[in-house]
Amino acid sequence: MSSPATILPAGTPAPDFTLHSTPDETVSLRDFRGKPVILVFYPADWSPVCGDELELFNEVLPEFQRLGAQVLGISVDNVWSHDAFARARHLHFPLLADFEPKGAVSRAYGAYRPEDGVSARAIFLIDGTGVIRWSYLSPVGVNPGANGVLAALENLVPQDANAS
C-alpha cells in the first residue's frame, strides 16, 4: 500500500484491511459494509493519562451505537497488549493490531508517524459504502475529543434529533 503524506480526506475510498483483534480473530473493514465505521488511530496502549482518548470513546460508545456506528481502535501494539489493555480499561470495542507489517494500515490512511514508529492520533468516519466522509488529525500531544466525529456522524445518519 502507498502512504500519503497527510491523512486521507473526505471523499476518498477507505483502504480495506484485515487485522487481528485477538490472537484467533481478525476484523476486516468490509465486514461492516452497510454501517458507519469510526476508525480511531492512536499511538499506544497504556497511555499514562487518566481518562484518555480511548476511555472517552468507550464512554461515548452508547451514543455511537444508537446512531448505528461501529468503533474500531487501531495501534501498532500487538494483540496481547491490546487484550490486556482492553480488559484493564473495560473497553467495549475491538482494538486492532497494525503490527505486521508494522503500521501498514496506518500508513495507508496517512496516519503513521515514522519518526516515532507509532500511529498518529487520527480519526476517520467511513460510511456504509466504504467511503471516508470525515477525517481529523489531532496535534501531537493533544487527545482529540469525540465532538468532531459525533457531529459528522449525526450529519451522515438521518435521524430524529429527539430520539435517545
Binding site: 493519562v49 487518566c50 481518562g51 464512554e59 467495549h92 487527545n143 475529543g145 465532538n147 468532531g148
Partner: protein, 183 residues
C-alpha cells in the same frame, strides 16, 4: 494553546453550578470526575487559583464521570447534584474531592449527614437516580464541547490544551482577562 474547534456547548447558563460573579471577566469551566486522581490534583490547584484571582474569576463545574474506569464516579456526581438540590452543591463537591478514596454509597450518605442535609431525601434521590439525567446532560455537553479527558478546562468558552498546573491556568486567565479588556 487553544483549539478553535473545541467550544463550550452550551455556554455557561443558569443551570450551571458557579462560584463567583457572572460579571467576572474570566469564566473557568471544569469537566471533572470525582474519582479521577488528576481531577483530585486539579481540585487543589483551582482552589489556589480562585484565592489568587478573587473576583476576576468565575468557576463552573460540570460532571464528566468516566464510569467504565471509575465505578463510583457516577453516584458521586449524582450525590453532588442531590446536595445541590438542597443548596449545598459546593460543600459536597469539596467533600468528595477531599475524600476521593471513599466514595461508596455509605460514604456518600455519611457526607450528607455531616453537611446537615435531609438525608432521607438525599438517599431517595441517589437510589432513584433522580439526577442521573442531569449528569448525563453534563456529560454529553462535554462530549459536544470537545472534552478530551478528565479534567478538561475551558476558559471563556475555549478548551485549554496546555495542561492544568497553576502557572498555566494563571497565564490563561491573564490572557483571557486581557483580551476581554481589549475587545
Amino acid at each position: 494553546m487553544m483549539d478553535p474547534t473545541a467550544t463550550l456547548t452550551p455556554p455557561v447558563g443558569p443551570r450551571d453550578h458557579a462560584q463567583g460573579s457572572a460579571d467576572a471577566p474570566v469564566t473557568l469551566v471544569e469537566y471533572g470526575d470525582y474519582e479521577c486522581p488528576f481531577c483530585g490534583e486539579a481540585y487543589g490547584i483551582v482552589k489556589q487559583l480562585q484565592a489568587d484571582e478573587g473576583s476576576r474569576l468565575r468557576f463552573v463545574f460540570r460532571n464528566f464521570p468516566l464510569t467504565q474506569s471509575h465505578p463510583f464516579a457516577e453516584k458521586a456526581a449524582e450525590a453532588a447534584e442531590a446536595a445541590g438540590a438542597q443548596g449545598k452543591f459546593w460543600e459536597m463537591h469539596d467533600m468528595l474531592y477531599e475524600h476521593q478514596d471513599a466514595l461508596e454509597p455509605q460514604d456518600l450518605i455519611a457526607y450528607a449527614t455531616e453537611l446537615g442535609l435531609d438525608v432521607e431525601r438525599f438517599t431517595r434521590d441517589l437510589d432513584a437516580g433522580t439526577y442521573a439525567e442531569r449528569v448525563r446532560e453534563d456529560f454529553m455537553s462535554g462530549v459536544r464541547s470537545g472534552v478530551n479527558g478528565t479534567p478538561t478546562f475551558f476558559i471563556n468558552g475555549r478548551r485549554l490544551d496546555a495542561g492544568f498546573d497553576l502557572e498555566t491556568l494563571e497565564t490563561a486567565v491573564n490572557a483571557a482577562a486581557g483580551s476581554r479588556r481589549g475587545a
